[in-house]
């Protein structure tokens, strides 16, 4: 499709300027010569109509959650309630300046304060910071809290234990906080090898980052022993909340001994992913770690009867962002929890676990599971049976698109000897049995196609707006802007129909 920069015509505009341009004031008198740009910076010149058509057309090349099933493992692509969007966009929230006096934003502060209490109860933690903007940002905040805790105790611990099945963000976050990452191997049941863990945990180690159920979708039955191993050596236990959707009302990370918890509000708590954010990665801690949270926190002044921002104090890790939080995400989370209530939250986890096990039961004969046991809210299958037909898991994923379904997460987790050619399927509570049955039917059909017509898969997808892309060429050419493309215009020689599809 044509770029917006390739559309329009010189002199066309899509914006109505204010009537009063303050023309009597001369820019040359306000700004020094060293500061003023000689030329206007060239953007597009299009009308509002052009913009509406362009972006509507672009949107139609996307596949959203409202279009259909989105079984991405570890991503919890659940339905995003529409009322929550409306409530988050009320003008008293939207137009609130972050430095407006506290007495003018009591409603916003009350929501943050109450959400803190709700999330605390749901996860068994004592205090939350709403600052982190995303899951990985929360992880960074969490591991910096761990770091500060040990610096404060004058214990120079420098290693962080992370399971081989963890998300890439875990080791990356630990490294950003200056820790040396030590990988903990999984056992033949897909969970943490306790013997190995006991061997690795020592006085130089800050603790363990764990997802539970883990990234293969399995509850770690050794969680109590894990907790003892880490705490007995003075370490801290970090909970990656990516998979909390299997735990609501069933088990709370706080009760299991976790000291720090991060939640992805855009996963478990139903706020939309936005094509990769904005979400929020709030962090909850146990009492002893509150002094280390990023500053400030919302508190209630019982004398003045109002909410206010309270500085955390000198032990705080400081700030991790400008201002306070991704506020609309908090409103949507708050609204979702209130709509669900305790029974609704339990129902969400129960349903998502049943959904995942149903898919596992129906597909395990066709796509061998990594582990032969019940799973949490997601199941991990493999496509390795089909390698002998020249079909890779990637091909299976691409073929699913032809049937109007977004592919599951593939090649993750990836660790030898257990996990290879993985297909990780997460069917959240918002998917009905009919949707799952249709998915199962299609997956079985694809397994047949893999044997009889493998090229149908290896050349898939066929019915999507575009087809498979040359990712190697993208790296090689490194065309990262329209001006990069213009420089290579003669070499590229795109035809009109290659662009305006």
């Amino acid at each position: 499709m044509k770029l917006i920069l390739e559309k329009g015509i010189s002199g066309r505009d899509g914006y109505s300027l204010p009537q009063d341009l303050f023309e009597e004031i001369k820019a040359e008198e306000c700004l020094p010569e060293y500061a003023i740009s000689k030329d206007k910076k060239k953007l597009s010149e299009v009308s509002e109509v052009d913009v509406i058509r362009h972006f509507t057309k672009l949107s139609k090349l996307n596949y959203g959650l409202d279009d259909g099933f989105y079984p991405l493992g570890s991503c919890t692509m659940k339905y995003n309630p529409k009322i929550n969007e409306k409530l988050a966009s009320l003008s008293n929230f939207v137009y609130a300046h972050p430095l407006a006096p506290e007495e003018t934003v009591q409603g916003s502060l009350e929501i943050i304060y109450h959400l803190n209490q709700l999330l605390g109860e749901i996860t068994g933690m004592d205090e939350y910071t709403m600052a982190p903007a995303a899951g990985a940002h929360g992880e960074l905040t969490g591991v910096l809290i761990m770091r500060k805790y040990f610096v404060d105790r004058q214990e120079p611990r420098h290693k962080m234990l992370i399971p081989d099945s963890a998300h890439g963000t875990n080791p990356a976050s630990a490294a950003m906080a200056g820790f040396q990452v030590v990988e903990v191997k999984s056992n033949e049941r897909g969970t943490i090898d306790l013997k190995e863990l006991a061997k690795l945990m020592d006085q130089d180690t800050v603790g363990l980052m764990l997802t539970n159920p883990n990234t293969v979708g399995l509850y770690d039955e050794g969680i109590e022993k894990i907790e003892k191993i880490i705490h007995s050596k003075g370490g801290l236990l970090y909970y990656d909340g990516a998979n909390l959707n299997a735990s609501l009302g069933i088990i709370r990370p706080g009760d299991a001994g976790f000291d720090i918890v991060h939640l992805n509000l855009h996963k478990t708590f139903s706020t939309p992913h936005g094509g990769g954010g904005p979400g929020a990665g709030v962090i909850g801690v146990k009492k002893g770690l509150i002094p280390y949270l990023p500053t400030p926190l919302v508190a209630w002044d019982s004398v003045k009867k109002r909410y206010y921002w309270k500085e955390v104090g000198e032990k705080s890790i400081g700030m991790v962002r400008s201002f306070w939080a991704n506020f609309p995400v908090l409103v949507k989370t708050y609204a979702w929890i209130l709509s669900m209530g305790p029974d609704g939250l339990y129902n969400a986890s129960e349903t998502s676990i049943i959904n995942a096990n149903y898919i596992l039961a129906k597909l395990k004969e066709y796509y061998k599971p990594v582990y032969d046991r019940y799973c949490g809210h997601e199941c991990t299958l493999t496509g390795k049976e089909y390698k002998k037909y020249g079909v890779k898991t990637l091909d299976i994923a691409k073929r699913l698109m032809d049937y109007g379904i977004h592919p599951p997460t593939i090649y993750f987790p990836h660790f030898e000897p257990y996990a290879e050619e993985t297909i990780m399927i997460e069917p959240p509570e918002s998917e009905s049995k009919e949707v799952l049955d249709r998915f199962i039917e299609i997956m079985i059909k694809i397994s047949e196609e893999a044997k009889t017509e493998p090229e149908l898969l290896t050349t898939a997808p066929h019915l999507t707006p575009i087809r498979r892309v040359d990712e190697i060429l993208a790296v090689k050419r490194a065309i990262l802007t329209y001006d990069d493309e213009l420089k290579l215009k003669d070499e590229l020689k795109y035809r009109e129909q290659d662009i305006d599809f």
Binding site: V46, I52, I83, P171, S339, I353, D498
Partner: protein
């Protein structure tokens, strides 16, 4: 529950198909003594109608901010956002989709990001643009980490007119790597150039300045650049921009030989939202591409030869490199990239220039008006864009209260934020195009009566 379609009967049927008699069997790996015995102690579910009521009432506890024009900016600016942008952003195809890992189903998001990269590249005159880091503060932190990796040196000079939240965030980000952070003081509202010359040495990895700075002052970036690079061409000059709208009229960082730009792009089509989500770009030269954090989109072809877009240069990222990645960033603020892309498309070449120009002129109009009253004094003799510092001769608490009563969000009392603690009665004003001449006259009347 309206968000959970399966009925109890369906669930029973599914359990039967799974081969278990109850849900309990599926979660037997959860240790029994850790299982919640009672249901969560949170309020019972309320219906949608009641929810709407409840949140509306909470919103009513805020001031009516639509009618309240801010005289404060300090890293968050109210600009007019055309309805066309807001309307388009609500399309579920943009809102409810995942990160565009599957290009065949994500060309909308991918092309939009590519277009945005193209715009920002032109606005900053930089070759490559990372479209989304969470905000200006975290982008500043990432830029500093990048500089440490690129130079293998350990000293960072930071202007103390970098936004105070950015300074704090920067410190949080780099602290584990133990760099020496040296605060560069200001003089007359701008970076003290003499001091900078004294501080520059062979150990310096980066010099971080903000322009327009926290006080609104426009730094002599080209001169600073010359000074820094003459000392040592490997020192990286990082320019932070908190008010990106200034790029419409001010010289591009690339033109002034800046090495890395960390630009808070909230002004490009993002609502104030009480502090977030905003977005930031990181722009730099192609030679530093391997050390950039975060996602970037590139152009390529599909098997049928069409021009298409895909996330690229991914070997830097956490899901591939794990602890060796350039950053841990995964989800970013991609939807806000599309917001900015739509916003900049609507503004166009002339619109962006004009808005930037009006912001400059309107701010200077208010400054003149306030100075004329005799109640305010200039603190600095410096060039500014749309924010300026004035000293008030009376009690600032009284005028703040009066402004609130008249539906204006007061300017920022600078004292708690002033790095040098010398500005007791100073206020930081911000003016954008949403403040009409009439409203400005009203403000002047309130402040000067």
């Amino acid at each position: 529950m309206r968000y959970i379609p399966n009925t109890e009967e369906q669930k029973m049927e599914m359990l039967k198909e799974i081969g278990v008699s109850s849900f309990e069997e599926l979660i037997k790996d959860v240790p029994a003594n850790l299982r919640l015995k009672e249901k969560l102690n949170i309020p019972e579910a309320i219906p949608e109608s009641e929810l709407e009521d409840k949140i509306y009432h909470l919103a009513q506890k805020n001031s009516d901010f639509f009618l309240m024009k801010p005289l404060v900016g300090a890293g968050a600016y109210r600009h007019y956002i055309p309805e066309a942008e807001k309307f388009l952003l609500q399309r579920e195809e943009f809102w409810t989709c995942y990160t565009p890992y599957q290009p065949e189903l994500s060309q909308g998001t991918l092309q939009s990001i590519f277009e945005y990269q193209s715009y920002i590249s032109r606005l900053t005159q930089m070759e490559v643009v990372i479209p989304s880091i969470y905000d200006g503060a975290s982008a500043t932190g990432e830029a500093a980490l990048m500089a440490l990796r690129l130079t293998h040196k350990n000293k960072i000079i930071v202007s103390n007119l970098l936004h105070p939240h950015y300074r704090k965030t920067l410190k949080t980000y780099v602290e584990p790597h133990n760099p020496e952070i040296i605060e560069l003081p200001y003089r007359d509202g701008l970076v003290d150039l003499k001091k900078l010359a004294d501080l520059l040495d062979e150990e310096v990895a980066a010099v971080i300045i903000q322009s327009p700075n926290f006080f609104g002052g426009i730094e002599r970036v080209a001169e600073i650049s010359e000074m820094v690079h003459t000392k040592n061409k490997d020192i990286l000059l990082i320019q932070v921009i908190a008010e990106s709208m200034s790029l419409g009229i001010l010289k591009a960082p690339g033109e002034m030989k800046v090495d890395i730009v960390a630009g808070n792009t909230q002004s490009f089509g993002m609502d104030l939202n009480y502090g977030g989500p905003y977005n930031a770009c990181l722009a730099t030269r192609k030679q530093y591409i391997r050390q950039l954090p975060g996602r970037i989109v590139g152009e390529t072809v599909d098997v049928e030869g069409r021009r298409v877009f895909v996330m690229t240069l991914r070997a830097r990222e956490q899901d591939i490199r794990r602890e060796k990645a350039t950053s841990n960033i995964c989800s970013n603020h991609n939807l806000n990239v599309t917001a900015s892309n739509i916003y900049l498309s609507l503004l166009g070449t002339e619109g962006l220039y004009q808005i930037s120009l009006i912001n400059t002129r309107a701010a200077h109009y208010l400054e003149k008006l306030l100075l004329k009253s005799g109640k305010f004094d200039r603190v600095f003799d410096y060039p500014f864009y749309n924010e300026f510092v004035l000293n008030y001769r009376g009690d600032t608490a009284i005028i703040s209260k009066k402004l609130l009563e008249n539906n204006f969000i007061p300017p920022l009392k600078i004292d708690p934020f002033d790095p040098e603690k010398s500005l007791k009665n100073a206020l930081l004003f911000a003016v954008t195009e949403v403040l009409s001449r009439e409203e400005q006259n009203k403000v002047a009347n309130i402040l000067c009566e």
